[in-house]
Amino acid sequence: MTSSYSHAPGFIAGDRPKIVTSRFEYADSYTIERFVATGGYEGLRAALSRPAQTVHDDVKSATVLGRGGAGFPAGIKWGLTPQGVWPRYLVVNGDESEPGTYKDRLLMERDPHQLIEGCLIACYAAGLSQCFLYIRGEMAVAQERVAEALNEAYAAGYVGKNILGSDFSVDIVLHWGAGAYVVGEETALIESLEGNRGMPRLKPPFFPAANGLYGQPTIVNNVETLANLPWLMTNGVDAYTSIGTKTSPGTRMVAVSGHVVRPGVYEIVNGTTTFRDLLYGEEFCGGIRNNNALKAFVPGGGSAPWFTADQLDLPFEGSQVGAAGSMLGSGAIMVMDETTDIPAAALTLTRFYAHESCGKCTPCREGGTWLERILSRVVDGKGTETDLAQLIEVGESICPGDFPHASNEALGLSAVPFPYKMTTICFVGPSAYVPVHSALTLFRSEFEARIIKRTMIKVTAVGVSS
């Protein structure tokens, strides 16, 4: 099979190491037969043949970073549970909905057994008694593929009681949402799973590992993070860390969308591949469409501050992108060429976050809507000079203080990373301001060009004598 494209829309294979997309080339990649024939459930077998603590240690020493957005090391997250509190749960975050992001859905649709195997390894290693696999409500096919795979896996003895004849037993329960972006925030996900409105919980505790589902220690991991575990268990820590860099080992799935020749999802080597490689490389996107000039790109999902051609040579590596004032987030790059109407493009993102605000925190509920309305007015050519100042004022009431910026030794500036200060519980509010701030900072003239100019008329005298 040479072309994987026809039956896996979005995914573009290449001659690179594959950790999570190795089966995407098969049309029947989602079946248990194909999975087992290609080394499936061998990672689980390898894990169960060792004490659970050593499996946990492996995940720690391999530095498997979370692939959901924050990039927190999974092995460390598993260790944040309080001593002696049982039972503990695993909640899988398959609520992929960050603008630009398209990878978890592929992993669930194309290789659901790999995800199930990852869940089992995590439950074994961290002593988690039940797993809830939460898939975004709108993803009908992903839900069907995972349901089918779970039914197959139960029947074959890979999930449930006494797995593979061992004393390891765990249920995986398929759950799905009903349309709410904010539920991707882990405490909102837990609220939703408890049958409530999906609003984020007040922090602290900062991690549900301390207090999560039903008040019990709960590990929330992203789909792609868990999908890494079978390969890690089968091939070992050394093989895993030999790919990528020391701080960002392994691979990442990156979706590149917008104005490129070959938009697609690529599994890339973490840490070394640059944005230029991705956008212009022949094995990746093949350049900007129609040989147009690049205007700007969003490097890590809709919440990430924007970059321009100046940052193309940065590698896809969390700490360096952070030092440059943005984040890798959920592995989503959105590319804008020279034809892009920047204020209108920013509005599509601000509208998204304003619409998805759950309404719990006032700065996000009110501020997001204000940002959308004012920006909308500016885009329609009905804005005024004061509107631009107002956008910044409203934005600063959601995330006050320095906005993320690159470190600059000459100016004595140290990088302000994302997250920065915020007056809300979660990142939905600040995210509504990110596109406004980026667009206004980088392309202010485009905003100024469309606001109504009010010229001062000099009144000399009301009347003149004789």
């Binding site: 603008p99 630009g100 039940q130 349901a147 009903a178 590149v256 969308s257 809709g302 892009t340 998204f352």
Partner: protein
């Protein structure tokens, strides 16, 4: 205005049985009600409240948070056109405009024959395949206005019924945990010991 059928009550009980707390099943039971009636009726919410052991106000409170739940009849096919950044960059506004013209309704409206409801949707996780849309949560990628016309023709001629169920059904496959394979649910308060496999020895 209908309560859940006996078959759906049996399914509902099976679903509730997978969670340590019954209320966790709420969203899935609301999906079940919507699958039955095409939208969520008051009677269904009252019935679900009885099954889960919460008040009907709590059911309503949860249901109204989520965008997929409808509280009045919608079209047989709900067409969600994505308008977030990647799709907007690739021409989704033109697509929406074309859909409004073709169907003779504005976004948010339903055609008089009850066949189509048109909605402006937010990011659908198919950004590399922009512009995209979903019909009853089944994807269509990289659409031109002509593709959209062909899709509407196919739906009107019932040529896609094998792939796209009427509004209300999301996944056509259900999870089923056979009782002899399942671990079963244990109330969190009754567990005080770590799981048996955390004994420092290999499980296999």
């Amino acid at each position: 205005m209908s309560r859940l059928t006996d078959a759906h009550v049996a399914l509902a009980k099976e679903i509730i049985g997978r969670y340590p707390r019954p209320k966790s099943a709420l969203v899935l039971l609301l999906h079940l009600a919507q699958e039955q009636d095409g939208y969520i009726t008051r009677d269904a919410m009252v019935h679900i409240a009885e099954l889960v052991g919460v008040t009907s106000a709590e059911v309503y409170g949860t249901a109204t948070f989520y965008e997929m739940f409808k509280f009045e009849p919608v079209g047989k096919y709900v067409v969600n056109i994505c308008g977030t950044m990647s799709c907007a960059l690739m021409g989704s506004e033109e697509l929406m405009h074309h859909a409004e013209q073709r169907l003779g309704i504005k976004a948010g409206g339903t055609t008089p024959d009850g066949m189509f409801t048109l909605e402006h949707a937010e990011c659908q996780a198919a950004c590399t395949e922009a512009p995209c849309l979903q019909v009853n949560y089944r994807y269509r990628y990289r659409l031109t206005p002509a593709d959209l016309d062909a899709l509407i023709d196919d739906l009107l001629a019932n040529r896609l019924t094998h792939e796209i169920p009427p509004h209300g059904t999301v996944a056509k496959v259900r999870q089923h945990i056979p009782s002899h394979h399942g671990v079963g649910v244990v109330a969190p308060e009754s567990v005080t010991e770590p799981p048996v496999w955390l004994n420092g020895k290999a499980a296999l």
